[in-house]
């Protein structure tokens, strides 16, 4: 299995092929469209990450020391970003997630989506993923 950074590098390479931001976003939209919706029964407030502009749901499951995420957003570009995050963090151990450094968002020129404001839920989502990882890590080590 690839490391987190290998996956990030792959994403960066994929996006580097687009000169045009339009194509970049078109790609994100496509990814968003392709991402499976989460089970409607998890599309509830408990799994909602509040962002002002778009809603993101994130549903974690824990198995064999690894974490599996499902995610969704009502905004398709955000859904595309979710799909990238899921790719990076899919089936990782808590430790891997906690030790990782996310650089691909910056590198593919989407930093604005990580601004410390509430314009979307991406930053909160990354935080939430780490929180889940932290909780799981504590649980299995206690």
């Amino acid at each position: 299995m690839k490391t987190i950074n290998e996956v990030q590098d792959e994403i960066i390479e994929e996006f580097s092929m687009f000169d045009d931001w339009m194509d970049k976003y078109a790609n994100l939209i496509e990814m968003g469209n392709e991402l499976n919706d989460i089970d409607p029964k998890y599309k509830v407030d408990n799994y909602l990450i509040k962002g002002c502009q778009s809603r993101v749901w994130l549903y974690p499951t824990f198995e064999d020391g690894k974490i599996h995420f499902e995610g969704e957003s009502d905004a398709i570009i955000v859904k595309g970003l979710v799909s990238l995050l899921l790719k990076v963090y899919e089936d990782r151990t808590a430790k891997e997630i906690l030790e990782s450094e996310l650089y691909f968002i910056d590198d593919i020129g989407l930093t604005q989506h990580l601004s410390p404001t509430r314009s979307n839920g991406l930053l909160s989502m990354v935080k939430q993923m780490r929180l889940y990882a932290l909780a799981y890590d504590r649980k299995i080590n206690s």
Partner: protein
């Protein structure tokens, strides 16, 4: 004489930039904040870098020059709103502080358990939460005037809400989402007949409507400098003198007092009673330049052009498949809040940005309006007199192009 948009626009060099490579900026986020003409930056810079002295108590020249300039803006705002006297003009940091001030002080003065405060369903959060918090503190009740399908206030319902329990009515002059210019003369009359005080949230009104507080007879009128070509950090609360005299101060500190001992403090006269601490004098002087700028063109002419632009924009945008307009009141400012079917507002805003268009998206600090329409957010293009028909044309084309990306 007609309005020369290019000449007007030339005062705003910020508008002539490529915000991304080869993407010209088209600034349609004017309801959030307007751009500033050069004269405003010059005034601020002058008083920051050449004539800076803390105002009011100074015996030295820069202090008294700055004081004079600051107090001259009070006179200017007084005549801009046609207040009866300069003592009725309180400088704040913005509409939000103005409304908090009046909600607190007026509330202390006149609100009892069981009394009622009325706001409307189309208020900005700044004109909801302070009243909500006040009502909680006082055991009073908050009532709400609903709006109809065009985005117009239901005055018939308003009349049924009014009673001798109503102590305060607070509504906006114009809605920051629906664009509706509310019939505030009528609302003020009705409220006064019931002995209630009326607060007008003029954040969106001041730049777009003639405001004559004596003719309106409103008790309070609040606005932000940054939405009428002035600097951030400036705001105004107009209040009728006899009310301001009676109301207890909101914040306290230096300058608003007459004498202080640990046993007792007596307050200074109006307007200083409501302006504790060092005011943002540099920016208030900038606000003066902004008002001078508006007066030099005349609000009437500016608004006429905005209105023409609005009609032009609506006629174009309505041609887009699935275009939905929120707010179609008869009397509107140039605010276009809309959705395009199947396209999330955040996606639209993000891509519009990439094409150079600055719009606002989301809930626009007006949750009740979103709940009313059962939407998560909208996209808002808010026009200003420096916008052009070409900008509207390119916006229309951009929307068509982007719509394609989501099918």
């Amino acid at each position: 004489m007609s309005f020369d948009v290019q000449e007007f626009r030339s005062h705003f060099p910020i508008l002539d930039q490529e915000i991304y490579p080869k993407k010209k900026l088209v600034y349609f986020d004017n309801a959030a904040t307007t751009q500033k003409p050069k004269c405003v930056a010059e005034a601020v810079e002058h008083y920051m870098m050449k004539v800076n002295g803390n105002i009011h108590r100074g015996t030295h020249k820069m202090a008294s020059d700055a004081t004079r300039a600051y107090e001259a803006v009070r006179d200017q705002v007084c005549s801009f709103m046609n207040a009866a006297s300069r003592e009725e003009i309180i400088f704040t940091k913005g509409t939000t502080e103005s409304i908090n001030l009046v909600a607190w002080s007026l509330g202390e003065m006149c609100l009892q358990t069981g009394d009622e405060v009325i706001v409307s369903e189309m208020e900005h959060h700044a004109n909801i939460v302070p009243w909500q918090v006040l009502c909680q503190r006082k055991g009073a009740i908050l009532k709400v005037i609903p709006f109809d399908k065009n985005g117009e206030l239901r005055l018939d319902v308003f009349e049924t809400l009014l009673s001798d329990k109503t102590k305060v009515v607070s509504v906006n002059h114009a809605s920051n989402v629906l664009g509706t210019i509310n019939p505030i003369e009528k609302i003020i009359q009705l409220a006064h007949l019931n002995g209630a005080y009326v607060v007008i949230d003029g954040a969106q009104g001041i730049g777009h409507c003639e405001v004559d507080v004596q003719k309106l007879d409103c008790d309070f009128y609040a606005f932000s400098g940054h939405k009428v070509y002035g600097p951030t950090g400036t705001g105004v609360l107009y209040g009728k003198r006899e009310l301001l005299e009676q109301m207890p101060p909101f914040m306290t500190g230096g300058e608003m007092i007459e004498t202080v001992t640990f046993e007792q403090t007596t307050y200074n006269v109006l307007p200083y009673k409501f302006e504790p601490g060092t005011p943002n004098y540099t920016d208030v002087i900038g606000l003066g330049a902004a008002i001078g700028f508006v007066l030099s063109y005349g609000k009437g002419k500016m608004v006429a052009w905005e209105e023409e632009l609005y009609q032009y924009a609506i006629s174009k945008l309505s041609q887009i498949d699935g275009f939905r307009l929120f707010g179609s009141a008869e009397n509107k400012v140039g605010i276009i809040s809309f959705a395009i079917e199947g396209v999330h507002h955040f996606d639209l805003g993000t891509l519009l940005d990439q094409l150079g268009f600055a719009v606002r998206t989301g809930r626009l600090c007006a949750d009740p309006i979103m709940d009313h329409f059962e939407v998560q957010g909208v996209t808002r293009a808010a026009l200003s007199p420096y916008n052009t028909k070409e900008e509207v044309d390119s916006f229309y084309s951009a929307l068509l192009r982007l719509q394609q990306m989501f099918v």
